[in-house]
């Protein structure tokens, strides 16, 4: 796959998936920054 095409897919698909995965992880681990 061409580098530019890969960058577009990462930007459009992987980035939102990363936000969702991070939110899920924070929820399950209870890792809010609240002391």
């Amino acid at each position: 796959m061409e580098r530019a095409t890969l960058a577009t897919h990462l930007f459009l698909v992987a980035l939102p998936a990363l936000f969702l995965a991070g939110a899920l992880l924070a929820y399950w681990k209870g890792r809010t920054r609240e002391p």
Binding site: A7, T8, L12, P16, F19, G30, R33, E34
Partner: protein, 482 residues
Amino acid sequence: MSPDAVIAGVVVLYMALLLAIGWAAARLTRSPEDFFLAGRSLGSWVTAISSTASSESGWVVLGAVGMAYAGGVSALWYAPGCLCGYVVNLYLVAPRLRREAAAQGALTLPDFLADRLGGSLAVRLLSVAVIFLCLGGYVAAQLTATGKAMEAILGMPYGQGVVLGGGVILLYTLLGGFRAVSWTDFVQGLIMVAALTAMPLLALGAAGGYGAVLAGLERLDPALVSAAGGKTGFALFGLVTGLLGIGLGYPGQPHVLTRYMAASSGEKIRQTQLIAMVWGVLVFYGAGYLGLAGRLLRPRLSDPEQLFPLLAKESLHPLLAGVMLAAILSAIMSTVSSQLLVAASAVSRDLLERGFGMARSDRASLLAGRAAVVVLGLLAMWVAVGQVRVVFWFVLFAWSGLGAAFGPVVLLSLWTRRVTPWGAAAGIATGFLATVLWKAAGLSDRYIYELVPAFLLAGAAVLLAGALERRLRGQGPAPVVP
């Protein structure tokens, strides 16, 4: 029944539902804490979805879709920018703000800041002035958008649209205060996320799927499928930081922060974080994907911001189209009601009650709050009907003005011991003035979105003026409120 009549029927039902919610909330509103903060009783779903719905105005369903339509993939930098703003708000601000505002008994953002800094009158008055200047014009502008949406959807004259839409908002805000605003925002947020999930899926399907959309856009112009948008060097830096910079505005929006203050517990905030992040991803990327697919489905639109209502009307059953168009009204109305209540609380609670010592009893405070909603709501409707131009000048920097004035001082006062009354006042004034001056000098168009430099300058002002005050008074850092 004609399709237009069905759509009008759905919109009328939607308005009736909002009024019914206002009526139900009014029965639970007995004290100022109820009116301004729903008695700090919000659950996680309402906290999450009402806070996100109130922070996203008609911009997300009309403007963001239009940006993706016109600019292609690179316009979607706003999505990670806004989501980074959500992360800061939900994980860095919300848990501490909820806990500490409850400990202080603070009902509004100026309350929280001023009481935290020894009851500083300067901080309170400056906060009220910035809120009033930014949100007053914003409410009027959103009512203008309400009138235009009603004109387009129901075919009624613009002025009547403002009065009908504004009247419904005014009535449910007046009746049920914060609880009515939060509950209606919750319903409106659900309609928004449903519309911005369903419409992009339908549009992507109609255009042949994700791969076909990217291939089609590339045939139109290869820059449309590049995350850099064909830009290099400083132009690319300006594009990316400008769109990412939108996210810096989130920790300074009083109408969003008060939702966190109203959550009933820390556990509710933890659930809020997940719900709000999922909502944000669906809505921001949904708007972007809709714009990208729409470029292929309707290639020659004169106004790309009309893509969403146009596609809804042309390609859906009137009943569903009515729901989609109610989503546009939802996006606008949820922001208006939240801003109207915060602007009214700035006048009644912060200025009259806490600033000048008037209306101190619960009954008088509640009355003053409701009177402020009526006066400001009618004033905003009058401005919107008359389209008073000077007011709309303030709207240009309302998001960035609030973000730069309050964002740094809120974050620093929650996370450091370095904020003093002088520091907070200097930060609020610097953030607001830097935004206005940067914008007025035309530097936003030439270099970078005004919020980025104004936010940084305000943060520096908080720390420098705080250090100066402590040195002059011979004090160390103030203790953090437990």
